[in-house]
Each structure stands twice: as C-alpha cells, then as structure tokens.
Amino acid sequence: MKSINLLKRLASVAAGFLLGVSALSAQNITVTGTVTDALKEPIIGASVLQQGTTNGTATDIDGNFTLTVPHGAVIEISSIGFETRTLKADTEKMNVILVEDSELLNETVVVGYGVQKRESLSGAISQIRSEDIAATRTANGVDALQGKIPGLQVTQNSGKPGQFNSDLSIRGYGNPMIVVDGVVRSVTRQRKNTRSWSNNARQLESYNDISVLQELNPDDIESISVLKDASATIYGLGAENGVILITTKKGQVKKPSINFTASVNLATPNVPRKVENWTSFMKWDNAMSDVAKMNHRFADAQIAAYENGAPTWTDADGNVHDAIYTDWYKESYKKFSVNQQYNASLSGGTETVNYYFGVGYANDNPILKGDTFGYKRYNFNANISVRLTPALTMRYTSAIRQTGNMGMGSFDQEWNIFYYILAAEPWVGITTKANPSHYSVVNENMHPIVLLDSALSGYTKSDGKNFNNTVDFTYNAPWLKGLTLSLNGAYDFSNNKQNTLVKNFQLYDYETDATDSSMQVRNQTEYVELVNDNARLYGRFQAMYDTHIGKHNISAMLGAELTDIKTSKLMASRNYGPSLDEFLYTHDILDQGDSNTMKNEGSRSNIRTAGYIGRLNYNYQGKYIVELMGRYDGNYQFQRGKRWGLFPSYSLGWRVSEEPFFKKILPMVNNFKLRWSDGRTGSVQGSPYAYINGYGKSGSWVFNEGVATTGYANNSVANTILTWAKVRMMDFGVDWELWQGKFGGTFDWFSRRTIGTAATRDATLPDFYAVSLPQENLNSNENQGLELSLYHRNSIGNFSYRVQGQVSFTRFRQTYIESEKTKFYKSSMDYWKNYSLNRWSGWMGGSTYHWTGERFNNLYETNASQVLYDTNGSGEGNRALVPGMYKLVDRNGNGYIDGEDVFYTWGGSMPPLQFGLTIGGSYKSFDFNLIFSGAALKNKSVSLSGFAGTGYLYYMPSQYTDSYHVANYGADPWDPATQWVEGEWPALVRVNQAGGSHNATYTNNQPYNYVNATYVRLKTIEVGYRVSPNFLKKAGIKSARVFFNGGNLLTFCNKYLKYVDPEASDSGRQGGDFPINRTYNFGFNLNF
C-alpha cells in the first residue's frame, strides 16, 4: 500500500510539474473541457497548452482538462495522431473534437536517437505507420513493406514458408541496418547453407540476420522509419546501406483496451497451371524429337493405348506395359494451403504507469503436400513504462519470439523438389504394382512423395528462440528545462537450433518390385544438430537538450554507446551405419547414431563496437533548418590506431513556403521545402583481426605412431593497411504539400559514393614472394538514383480516401577498379562486354541477341538466309534453324550471327525501377486499401530451352501449343515441303539432357527466351467493415471490424509470362521454386 501511496504522490508531483509554474494575471479565465475524437471517444493525455508559453496541462482518463489562462489567450490542443487545434479562450466550457491527423506535415518522425517533427526534417526519411504495415497480411515483415515506402526496394523471390528470402534494399545499396527500439538488432550469423549444391548436411554459410524485421508481429509495430541518406550516418560504421528503425507500440494513458485480430488465409500458387494432357503431351514431345532429330520418346502404340483408354500397351520387343498415368503434380500439390494469424494486444495506462502487451501467432503452410515444410511463430511483446519520479521514467520493453521452421534434409533436394515433381515418369505408379508399401523408382531416384514425407526422407527443423530486452531510463532534468538525460541498456539473447536428418530410403521397380542398391537415395542416414547461441549487450548514455531562444529553435544531443555481441556455434553429427544393408535408423538422437561416424565442430566469436554521437539541430522560425551530426566510431575489426574514425554529416533545409513572398504568391502551398544532406560513414570490410599475422590449420604429420599432429601454416601477410571504405551519402530533396494536405509529394536525387573498397593491388610479383598481397582500400563505386512520391487525400462527404504512389530508380557503377589497370582484352567486343569501369549496372552484360522483328516461316526461308547462324558455336549453322525462329540482328553486319552480335538487356533480379501505389479510404463503416507494386527494366528467362526446358520434363505448358509446328502430326519437319502452322513461339525442340543444348540456334540468350518482365501487381486488397459500436457495446466490445484481404490477386505483365511469375526468382519453369502465393484472407478485429 505504501508504495501505491508513494506512486500517487509521485503522480501528483508529476502533474504539478507538468502544470508548471506560471504567474496568473487578473484577467484569467479557467477553461474546462473535454477532448474527444470524431467518434466521441475521449482522448487521454492530449496536450492543452497556452500558445507560446509553458502553461499547460494534459487531459485525464475521461478526456477532461482544466486550465487557467489569460482571457482571450490561444489554447493549443494536440495529441499524437490528431490534427492540432487552436482555440481562443473566451468561454469557460470547451468541448473539443480532434480530427485524425491527415496532414503528414505535423507527424512526429522517429529519427536516429530521437524524434523530430516532419516539418523540421532536413534528411531523407520516410515513415510508415502501424496500420499501413498491417494492411498486408503476410508472415514476412519485409513483404509487408513492399510498395509502400519510396526508395525501399523489395522483391519477393518465393513463397516458401518461413524462408523469408525477399530481397530488401534501400536505394539499391544492399542489406540495411535494422534498429529496433533504439538498438541495432541486425547481425551476421551462420546457418545451414541454402545455396550450395552439396549434399553435405553440415555446410554453413554466413548471412545478415534481419529476422527482427522479417519475423515481427506487424500489430506490435508503432512505426517504421527508413533513413535513406546522411541521416543514417548517425548510426556509424555499417550504416552505409541505410537504416530501418522499428518502434514498437507503447502503452498510452487510457483505459485498458484489448484488441484482437484473427485471420485465416487460403493460399494457392499465383501462376495458374495449364498444361497439355498426357496424350497431347506425348505427341508434342515426339514432334519436338523430330525437330531435334532424336528418337521418339513415346511409341505410337503407347499413344494409341492412352488415347483409347486401353489398360495396357505392348512395345516393339513384345513387353506389355500398364497404360497408367500418375499426375505427380496433383499428387504433390495441395489445392490451397491454409494459414492463420492471431494477434491480441492489451494496452492502457495511467499517468504513472502505462503498458502494452501483445501476443501473436502465425503459421504458414506450404502448397506442397506432406509435412516437410512449414513455419510457425509466436511473438510476445511487452512494453511497460513507469514514472518513478516526476522527472524520471523507466521503460522496459521485452520482445520474445519463438519460431519453428521445417525444411527438407538436404538442400539440393529442397531446391529441386519442384523439378523432381515434373521429372517423375507419369507411367510409373507411386508405389509398385505388387506392394503398396514399396515406393517406385522414378527419375534420379527422387520420388516426390517420399521426399515430401519427413518420416521417409528426413527434414531440417529450425527452432529459434529470441529474447530482446530493452530498458530505458529517461530523466527530464527539472533544474534545466529542455534537458533530458537517458540511459539505455539492452540485453538480447537468442538460441537457434537446427536439426537435420537426411535419411536414405529404398525404392523398388514399379513393374517387378525388384530392388537393388542402385535404387536408393543416399547410402547412409546422417543426423546433424547445429546450435547457435547469440548474446548482445548494449548500453548507451544520451543527453538531449531542447530550447527556444526567440525564433531560434535549438536542440542538441550527445551520446555514447557500446555493443558487445557474442556468438557461438556448436555442431555435431553422426551417421547411422555405413550402408543401407547395415543401416538401422533408430531415432534422431545423436547418441543413437554410429559413434564411429561422429563429427563435431564448434567456434565462437565476439563483435565489439562503440561510438560517440553528437547532433545539433537548429532552425530559425522553422524556416531555415540546419542539422550537424557527427559520430566518432570504433570497430573491433581493425588494429590499434586504425579502429576509430570520425564521420561528420550535415543537412540543410529551407522551407520556402514560410517566406512571406512565397505565401503571397502561392498561398495554397502550405509546405514547400528544399533539402540537402551530405554525410559520411564507413563500410566495414575485410575479415576481423586480419592485422594479426595468424597461422591456421594446414596438413598434419604423424611424429609418433598413432598420433597425428595438426600442422599450422600462414598463407598471408598481416594486413595492417586495410580499413573501412569511406562512404559519402548525398541527397537533394524537395517536399511539397498543397491545400492542407490534399496534394503533396517528395522528390529526391541521391548519390552514394564509396571510396576505398577492398581490392588487391595490381602488381606483378615473382613467384618467389609466394604470398598474395594484402587487400587495400583501392576501389570505389557509386550509387545514384531518383525517387518520387506523390500523395493525395480528400474526403467527399462520408467518403474519404488517400492515394500515395512512389517510384524509385537506382543504379550503380564502379568508378575505380584496380584490376582493370592491367587487364587484357582480346578484342573490342571483349572490352565492350567485360570492361565494367564506370558502366552503370542493371544491364545484363552483353549476352542476348536482338530480334529484327522478322521470322523464318519455313525451311525455304532458312535456306535462303543470307546470314549464317552459329549462335552457340556448334558449327551446325543454318542447318539447325527451325521455322518460327526469329531473325536476329547481325549487329556487326558480317553475315554471321555469333557471339559478336550480342547486346545488352536488362537483368532479372533487383530491377532498378520499382514502384508502388497505395489507395486507401473509407466510406461510412467501410474501409478499403489497395496496394500495387511493380518493377520495370527487368527481364525474365522462360527457360524454353535451358535446363529442363521443353521436352525434358513430362509436362508442357499449354501456351506453347501456340508455336510453329508441322500441320500433320508425324510429318518430317526437315522436309522443306512440309506444311507448317504458324504460332507465337518458334518450333519447339526437345532438349536431350538436363542443361544440354540441342540445336545450334535454339539457345538461351535469344529474344524469345528473355521476356520483358515489367509488371504491376495488386499486392494487397483489403476491404473492411466496422460493425456499429452501439450494437456491440452491450457485449463489452467497443468496436468490431471484419475484413477480407487478398494478396497478389492481380498481375499485369507480358502475356508470355503466363506460366512464370514475373516477380519471383524461380528459374523459369513452372514451380521452379516455391511459387509466390495468391492469398485470400478472412478475418476480424475486435476492440474491447
């Protein structure tokens, strides 16, 4: 009880403090009133202030306030998220309705180590609020940002549950730094290799862990800020790719309120499957064989039997085969997957204590059958703030995340599962004729159903536990108004465990049920456990001072911080017997494996950084804005004397719209701001401790029988020269807003120059030196780009809406390349193709042919061609040209089409031009949200003739029937007299092996194979309906909202991309990777 009394006392002191001390004059009037929102809900904690003074108060829990002011004074009432209102104090009773803030101008923006009002920003910072993030219902937090923030480039690569491999980049720079509640929380970690083809379950790779963003619960987010220019440099070394600041929700001074959202999501592959039926396929395949001058894969008798529905057919040798058809696609794919998300939060508070608790659950299931894939996540977020004394506040934030992720045991199978599904022979049953428990041998022994069953073929289970804890003490010094001191500490730890079981399994011949050692996958079962332990200790001391001297607004910040990250890895594995004969698999427990095969690995490392931070903001009347920033930053990687660097930045802003002349000329423009920022930071590179001349393991020698002594060798000289690359980030921006927020926009030009990226000096040394030169800070590069964002808000009667669109264009070039100094080019073509200095990237190197627009319609035309084709150097020339083949541009006019005629085209990943459009609005109780995103300057290979192209797998997309083909099935395509039917695609040719080429002209780098993949996609559509509060209030529910949310429902792109996703990174064949999903969400949201 005593403590409560103490708290009460403290609270009243606090209130008194807030009231301030102000001399009351004789003409004072005491105003009382209530502040509510448009729905008559009281607004708690709204600031009520006599304009130009410190005389003010805050509204209480019912939205009431009392304030004594001189009669006629102007009272300013403001609250975060609402438009500020000013009223004249001429009546004692005031009921104030605040309308929700529609003007971005007054928004508070989270910046590095603080917050600023948007109007006084001089850097390129974009912010997005909770509602906009949550509008996209996805388990991947990165995808939820797609198309919403100018300059933030997101490309979704696949729809694999829990994989989160979407590309994320700010202005094309690379992996950004992620800061959550003031602490840098992205870090380099190790995991099982996801790229190597190796079957070795123990291979590891390093990656930048941004799971704090990927796996956040969108409902727990208050806002996300993206620092794109010099404003990021305040985070020091490593911030060169920009910074994403995530602020989680805090409690508010209000009655306890509960929010509950549930949604169920049905997902199907985004690209519909439309393929030829089996008999049609067999004929097409044979026709492709004819063109390729290869033997038919399917006998006429076989085709006839399937056409006639005969149960069996007899081959030329008299063997009888079942005429069965197994649709491996159907057997392996679900119609749709069902996924769920539940989020609940409780928040509230008084003036002394406020709190926010959020829990979330999400699961994401694969479109494939079986139990081999899947993702589950539990989030728990707590934020408690206590006002210990009127001046001292403590805030504790805790984020707990538990994730579970399933995958296949071996990566090559995981990557190839879609290929295996399409490559399994359809005339083989799932199980053998004789024994339903014996799985049949299929192509490469990769039986899709077995692979999708973890009990048969193994799994990779990832189990992550993340605990992030942050404590802040904030002290508003009563002895110096405007001074705030804060101490911030964080302790995060995480434990990530991966258990991998790679099982062998036996297959049997479909017809005979016979088996032998060639019909098994892997000859042994391996089990691996990998444990990663990570801990981050972070501390920061910060002092902030805000003051106004007349029209001069000054704020300053000084701080110091340090981070200490410890990571450790432990991996152990065992096999279960050396061969299938001797194989007894017991359990996925290390102890139960064969102890003779035990292997283990372990390592640990320690990352330490520290920095001193300083910032000075000055503005005159909110008109001239100056920001000076500096950071003195230290990093553990480098040797003594080279660890610390000073990184200064500045930015300037001029709100032209505040100038009287501007107001006079263009009164409807309520904001027009010019911004310039220029900042420096460093990009950490090289390996830690390269300055130590160290020895590593190398070779071994048995000095005495039975004992091998591990050798140590040194293969490099100590690197005492290399340090971080110097990065300079520049941005020129314009912000404008008209008619109080009806129209507005921003435009940015930006440039990032990096000087001194690591490279080896180009010096020719004799072999006797016998060691490569250490890397030095030699190379340099540059990113440049433009960003434009436009918005429009309006309301017409009950209908209000907002539209926001943005587009960004980025490009990159190397401005110095040491190795180019002495590089030798064979020819001007070679130089043109491979010389990269000062060349803007984004083009795929000269590697594709261009089309003249004409085609060879028949063999007479190919024979008459004046140009010789030898596009893949096979020497077959025009003899292999098939009807429908495009006439290519003979760029050098030498009469040959060969490697010298290739030209540039755009590449496939990270397209340089990306755009997004958000349309949101409400009408009465309805609300809606449409989010489009897209990209241009992008091409995509449809792999018509590449790996597993036409005629290799057992399926053919129906769109290819619209190709040149002989009019009568079976006619000789190489007889000039044969009649052809024209189509969109050239005549199809069968590939004879995976990855093999089959025809002199039918190669990957041809125009029909590289399709323009510019697309616009309706990423999200959400429609919600808010149920009348009166009706539900009896049940204690303040408000309820039901919604439908669709993902990827609509895509506009080239018609040739009908069966491949223009956005995804799949290799062009249908289902080359987990398809991006089309989702249908149904959900509701309750507010208690």
Binding site: L388, A391, Y636, Y689, I692, W701
Partner: protein, 639 residues
C-alpha cells in the same frame, strides 16, 4: 532521486572517459588463428609448424603423366604415394620454411633445441629444393624470408636468378650436410635426425652422380641458353665426386647402428613373404630411415591407395585401377627350389615349347581350340607363382594368391569341356565341371573377382586387362576406406643399394662391402646364394625391391635411361616400350581343371595409352618447363 541521477551521471561519465581501445583489446580475438609468437613459445607449437612443413614434403616419385606411364616395368598407371613432385615449383612451401627458420632463429630457445629445430628446417627445405632441381635443373634459390622485402611497391628485392644446375645440386647437398651437423644422432620418431639428413644426402648425391655420368646418353640441344648458362647441364667429370659423397653418406647411415633390414634371413619363403607384407602394414622403425605414417588411431585419414588393389579386397569405384605389367612380373626371380633358394630366371613359363617371345594382340580371336595344347598346364591358378621371389608374392595380387583369407580370382576366359574357347566373354556364366563351378572371370560376379563391373570394365578401352594388381599398402586384416598403411620415403635397403651402385659405378669405396650389401638385400628376400657386384645385378635389385614403391622410375630418370636422341628407351636398363600381360584361363577340356596362361599385349595398353601418339622421350623433356619464367624474369628451359 538525487542518488539515481548521480549514478546515471557517473555511469555516463565513466563510460565516456573509458579508454577507447581497451574495450576492443579485450574482445576475444580471431580464435581460428594462432599468432606466430604463440606457436614458437612451446614445443607443441613448433611441432605444429613442422607438421605442416613435413606434410608438404614431396614424395620420391616422379609421376608426370606419360613419363611414368612409359615405364612398362612399372605399373599401368603408376600410383604415387603422397605428394607428387610433378611441377614442384612451390615457393609457397619454401616461404613457409624460410619463415619458420627465421622464427626459430629469433625464438627464445636454448642452443641445443634451436640447433635441432634449425636442422629440421634445413633438411625439409633441402628436400623441397631437391624435388625442384631434378624437375627443373638449376633454379632460383631463395633462402630467406621475403615477406618484408616488398616495401612501398618496390619489388626489386623479390627477384632471384637461377643458379646453375651444378650449383643447385651442391647447394642442396651442402644444406643436407649442415642439417646433419645440427640434428641429433638419435632416432626422433618420424622426424629427421642426423642420419635421415645423411640418407637424403646419399640419395641426392647418387642422383647428381648418375645424371652427370649418363649426361651424354641424352644430351640437350647445346644452343639453348639454359644449356649454355649451364642451368640445365651436367657432365661426366662431375660424377666421381658425387659418387664419393653418396658412398660416404650412405656408409654413415649403414654403420650408425640405428637401422637395419627388417626380417633378415627368413627361415622359409612363407616367412619372407609375411615379413614383406608386415613391413607395409605398420611403420617399421628398423627398416624405415624416414617415412610417413598414416596410423592416427581413427579412420578419418589414410594412405588413400584404395584403387591399387583388386575389387575383392577394396571398395569404391576405383578398385583395380592400377596394375602390374608382365614385364615386371618376369623380372622377379624364381627360387631354384624351396630349400636351396638360389637365383633362377624369373621368366614365367607359359608354353610347352619354351618360346616365351610369343605374344597375342587379340587373344579373343587369336587363341583357338587348336592352340590349347601349346600351353603349359598348371594344376592351380597360382601354379607359375609359387616359387617366385617372396617380394612378388607379398606385393602383387596374382591369380590364386591369397590375402586376407581370400583367394584372389582373376581369369579372362575358359576352355569349355567341349574344347571350345571363350576369351573375354560378354557373360560370366558358370560352368559345372566335376562337381565344382568355374567362371570365365574366375569368380561369380563383381565381388569375387579382381575387377569391378566385370566384362564391362575389362573390355573398356580405358582399362585394359591386366593379370596383376598391387597388394602393397592394402590392409591385411580388414577392408578400410582409407588404409592406414605407411609409406617409406627412405628404407634401409635403399642405403645398401645406393652404396652398392655408387661403388659399382665409380670403383671407389669398398667392393667387398658393396657386394655384401647387395646380397643382404637379396637374402632378406629369401635367396641364399650370392651374386657378384655388377651394375646389372644392382639395377636388377633396385627394380624388384623398389618398383612397387614407384622408385624404379626414379632410377631410370636419374640415369637418363629414357631420354635419348633416338627416341627409343634404353632397353638394357630394363625398360620396354610395350606393356605386357598374362591372360589366365581355366582349361576344362581335360581330365581335370587346369590353368594356362597366354602372353598378350593387352588391348589398348600401348605405352602411351590415353595420350597423344608419341612417346615423350625427347631429351629436352628431361626438364620441365619453368613456370612463369617471364614474370619471374629468369631463363626458360628448352630455349
């Protein structure tokens, strides 16, 4: 309240004033690396540096593609132990040893320890350079650490010119003598000691001597700069001094009393055979002067010579890759009988008329039913081999040999009970005969035969059929993925033969001792008689004692036996242009199963199989091309 504030301020201030670098200095460094100072501070650290240097030691085989394939007396495709010397242009290793020597020099060690560690470094470096000199002739000798010689982009100090070939040999010999002077005179496990250095010196000296003496067998185009500058040049007048060095050095090793012949004076042929098997199972400290052991007590690494043995004994797809030619098999003498054990000509008797010069090229068609009677019939598949030199019995897998309790099956066809013949048939169908089943390939299926994937393999153009494979180095008790059998770099018998050859060649030294040493090697193999000290006898002994360790090729190389202006191998040294084999067959046409052996030139087994049509015996191929000679600013060979 004030207190809290005070603490916050205090904490902030103390943080702010904290020494910057201290925070980083206390971080755990790169735990994957060890600093040089730490390695030098302890014996185990020094040993780990040495372990790396030793592991890079080139083994004593020359195995550059067709050069080794040419030696028909060797095996089909010569297996090499450990690190090959081909292209041993490894200044990375030289740098490692130079840095090691510099570090030892600066380390805080007592004089005796420092001397021993220095001696080991000198020994290893000399071995590296030996490998280079014999490949490239005179080479640039870098004997200091160059790490700090590249300053401010100035590379002048990094360039070294080639020494003459003689200077290079002399330098290596001098280094080995210096090492011997520094090293202890007692055994050091599998590390170098005084006598290891001397034994290596004896080997190097014999090499230099042979090359000098036989220089004119294959002189190199005298217009080449490399010859004029004597970078690739030796002459007969140098020989005697080197032979004397070889005699002196080998004598010291022989008389040191630390080493000897393992299993001297065996009681029987079987005892001799067992001794030779055991010698290659675990490293023998008596026989082994210097070598490499793979015995580390776990299965994780080993000798990696799986491919040598027949399929019946090993697993993996390479089994049976390497084979022994008939040319070599014929070289192994017979014992006159099991008791007297005098030397008898080793030519394997296959024909009734004794005409062993008769070879078939296509046995499938050339051998017909009418010819069956021409062949000598044996009652068991190992009939012709029972009285062969114990070394042959121990190291060669021949038809009917037993190893690890298995009888090794290797046949290439059969004479059917009806008298018809089948050679290299496409099937391996068994035939019942007098209550037993016989198979064309000796055993029923892959697991019971020399070869993996029977008939496919045998007829494959890449794997001509050979009658003999290699047992040496195959584990005698179990089938292991990577056998942990040792490999000897220098065996004691090499010292005996070195002494004998040097005396026989130069007339220096003690002839009586030389003959005694030569016969000691023979006696250990079970022979009881004595042969005279002749060059021919010495070379013969080199061949049978060392061919299966790939060292016979070294003998031929140093003696320049293959490189001559006529482009023909020097036949008197025992090399032939054609690889020969036996085709063993079971004959079921008589009253009982008997075995006959056809002499054949196996399919596609010409000496240069798999390579371009010419034998590379041009004298200028004696030296390898100097790598990057322009970049290194030195003279090339052959120009």
């Amino acid at each position: 309240m004030k207190k809290i504030f005070k603490y916050i301020l205090l904490a902030g201030l103390s943080f702010g004033l904290m020494s910057c670098d201290k925070f980083f200095d206390n971080a755990e460094g790169d735990l994957n690396k060890v600093a040089a100072e730490d390695l030098l501070a302890s014996n185990s650290g020094l040993l780990s540096l040495l372990a790396n240097l030793y592991s890079a030691l080139p083994d004593m085989s020359v195995s550059t593609g067709d050069q080794s394939q040419m030696f028909a007396n060797g095996s089909r495709s010569t297996p090499s132990y450990g690190t090959s010397v081909s292209g041993f242009w490894n200044y990375g290793n030289v740098r490692a040893v130079n840095n090691y020597l510099a570090a030892v020099e600066n380390a805080n060690l007592d004089d005796a320890t420092k001397a021993a560690y220095t001696g080991e470094g000198l020994f290893i470096r000399a071995c590296y350079y030996f490998a280079s000199v014999r490949m490239y002739g005179g080479i640039p000798i870098v004997d200091i650490s160059l790490d700090d010689k590249y300053v401010d982009g100035n590379a002048d100090a990094l360039y070294y010119d080639r020494s003459t070939e003689k200077e290079s040999w002399d330098w290596v010999l001098d280094q080995l003598q210096k090492a011997a002077d520094l090293l202890p005179a007692t055994k050091q496990g599998l590390r170098a000691n005084k006598y290891v250095a001397l034994a290596m010196k004896a080997r190097v000296a014999l090499w230099a001597a042979s090359e000098s003496k036989y220089w004119n067998r294959a002189p190199i185009n005298s217009s080449y700069t490399a010859v004029q500058k004597k970078l690739t040049y030796m002459e007969a007048s140098y020989a005697d001094a080197y032979y004397q060095m070889a005699i002196d050095a080998s004598k010291q090793v022989i008389e040191s009393g630390l080493y000897g012949l393992a299993g001297e004076n065996p009681a029987s042929i079987a005892a001799a055979r067992d001794n030779f098997i055991d010698l290659f199972q675990t490293y023998n400290q008596t026989e082994g002067v210097f070598g490499r052991s793979y015995n580390i007590g776990s299965q994780n690494s080993g000798n990696g010579n799986q491919g040598w043995g027949p399929n019946q004994l090993v697993t993996g797809y390479l089994q049976g890759t390497y084979a022994v030619t008939l040319n070599l098999a014929d070289e192994y003498d017979y014992y006159s009988d099991a008791d007297a054990r005098n030397r008898a000509n080793g030519k394997i008797a296959t024909r009734v008329d004794g005409n062993e010069d008769n070879y078939m090229t296509y046995p499938e068609t050339e051998f017909t039913a009418s010819k069956v009677a021409d062949f000598k019939h044996y009652d068991s598949p190992d009939g012709p081999f029972k009285l062969k030199d114990a070394r042959f019995q121990a190291w060669v897998a021949y038809p009917g040999n037993t190893y690890r309790g298995k009888t090794l099956n290797n046949e290439a066809g059969m004479v059917m009970p009806d008298g018809s013949v089948k050679v290299y048939p496409l099937d391996n169908n068994g035939v019942s005969f007098q209550g037993a089943t016989y198979y064309p390939y000796g055993g029923d299926g892959d697991n019971n035969s020399f070869f993996y994937h029977l008939n496919v393999d045998i007829n494959d153009s890449n794997r001509a059929f050979y009658c003999f494979q290699i047992l040496k180095g195959i584990d005698k008790t179990q089938n292991t993925q990577t056998p942990q059998t040792p490999c000897y770099n220098i065996r004691f018998s090499e010292m005996l033969l070195t002494y004998a050859e040097a005396v026989a060649e130069s007339g220096k030294g003690d002839k009586g001792k030389a003959a005694e040493y030569l016969n000691a090697v023979r006696h250990r193999a079970g022979f009881k008689d004595n042969v005279e000290l002749t060059l021919e006898n010495v070379l013969h002994e080199w061949k049978v004692e060392f061919a299966l360790e790939n060292k016979w090729t070294n003998v031929l190389h140093r003696r320049r036996a293959f490189y001559n202006p006529d482009n023909t191998p020097t036949v008197e040294e025992g090399s032939l242009g054609k690889k020969l084999t036996l085709v063993p067959m079971v004959d079921l046409s008589g009253s009982k199963a008997q075995w006959i052996f056809l002499r054949a030139i196996p399919y596609n087994a010409t000496p240069n199989q798999g390579y371009s049509g010419t034998l590379r015996v041009n004298p200028e191929d004696y030296y390898s091309q100097i790598p990057n000679y322009q970049k290194n600013r030195i003279d090339p060979n052959n120009k």
